[in-house]
């Protein structure tokens, strides 16, 4: 699937085929995509634990679900519990940045050197950040979000459906042996969609001009209709929800899966 189509076809899938497992190689590809994501100071904060639903004891499964996501957890055959490692920057003491210097990603042309990393960046910026929870959590959350998004989009590239979900952190921590320094993010629920890929149409979003400015705050970024038409042609912008048959689809899914209407 082309990249723009992957973006356009992504929907949060909430009806999975509960009987159909996800192939392990697809899980690996999803994790590989997360691993190579952009990350500030080359920190690689993202961590994750892959769990197949049917390998969890029923009691653990029942306890880890948050109420709004309970049915999603029942239907999705595979979960990736994502976390951010809050210790990695302090432990590595600038080594990942020095690696970027060594491989020619950060260069003297832009002012970078080992000495700059060792004497300024780590001791004066990164190390203090690790002792300031607000700054550390912001850095971890932003970069984990970027990497998780790559995992999410890869799932769609591989023909899977996916949905981010909250989870009961205490239960998962205990069940999976998660260490204290891993900061809870979201679970990525994975499986083959029981919904049509359209899943009722592209979800409603605010107008572009309400979200983004140009030049200064308060000056909307004006949408060019020609660009919109181009993105529609390549499948990134699609027919917005609800498609006319969505209610019938939802009713049929509910009946097939034994869910309330």
């Amino acid at each position: 699937v082309e990249f723009f189509q992957v973006l356009g076809r992504r929907r949060s899938i909430r009806y999975f085929q509960p009987w159909r497992p996800v192939e392990r190689e697809k899980i690996q590809k999803i994790l590989e995509a997360a691993r190579i994501a952009s990350c500030a100071v080359n920190a690689s904060y993202l961590r994750g634990v892959v769990v197949n639903r049917d390998d969890l004891p029923t009691e653990t499964l029942d306890r880890l679900k948050t109420p709004p996501a309970a049915t999603n957890y029942d239907l999705a055959p595979t979960y990736i519990f994502f976390y951010g490692d809050t210790r990695t920057v302090a432990e590595k003491r600038g080594a990942p940045l020095r690696e970027l210097v060594d491989v020619g990603a950060l260069n003297p042309s832009h002012g970078w050197s080992h000495k700059f990393v060792d004497e300024l960046i780590f001791p004066q910026i990164l190390e203090p950040m690790t002792r300031t929870p607000e700054r550390l959590i912001r850095a971890v959350a932003i970069d984990c979000g970027v990497a998780m998004c790559q995992a999410l989009l890869t799932a769609y590239e591989l023909g899977l459906g996916a949905c981010f979900s909250s989870f009961n952190g205490d239960v998962v921590k205990e069940a999976l042996g998660i260490p204290d320094h891993w900061l809870q993010m979201y679970a990525l629920l994975l499986g083959y969609s029981a919904e049509s890929w359209e899943a009722g149409g592209q979800r409603p979003r605010p107008p572009l001009e309400d979200l983004f400015c140009e030049g200064r705050y308060g000056e909307p970024f004006r949408r060019d209709p020609a660009v919109v038409a181009e993105l529609e042609a390549v499948g990134m912008l699609q027919t917005p929800a609800p498609l006319p048959w969505r209610k019938a689809e939802v009713r049929a899914l509910a009946r097939m899966l034994g869910l309330p209407e």
Binding site: P68, A70, T71, K247, G258, L259, P260, E261
Partner: protein, 115 residues
Amino acid sequence: MTTIDHAAIDHSTAVDVWLRGLEAQWGEPIPARERRAKLEILHRFCESVDKTPDQVVAECLLTKNGVRRISSKGRRLNAQAIDAYQESAGLTAANTVRSFLIHNGIFLQTSVQKL
């Protein structure tokens, strides 16, 4: 167990909210036969728990500092009552009662694992 007044049930606020919610959800009127079947299921559930529909909904709610919230305890008790009802009445009937609560704003999900 007290006798539940079926006519009162059919005209209760909670039942009205439910049926209007269903019609809005699916965008069509509920056929008369289906409507009767749903109400009969609700009658039987109400008899099993010895409460009116309005009482069932009220039990799932509480007001704290002037704000209406879902009562975790009330919701859990009724979810368990529906699970018990499912044992005798079957999944479709239990889901009908869940639908009644859901359309009254009580968040409920059923476990697919138990199917």
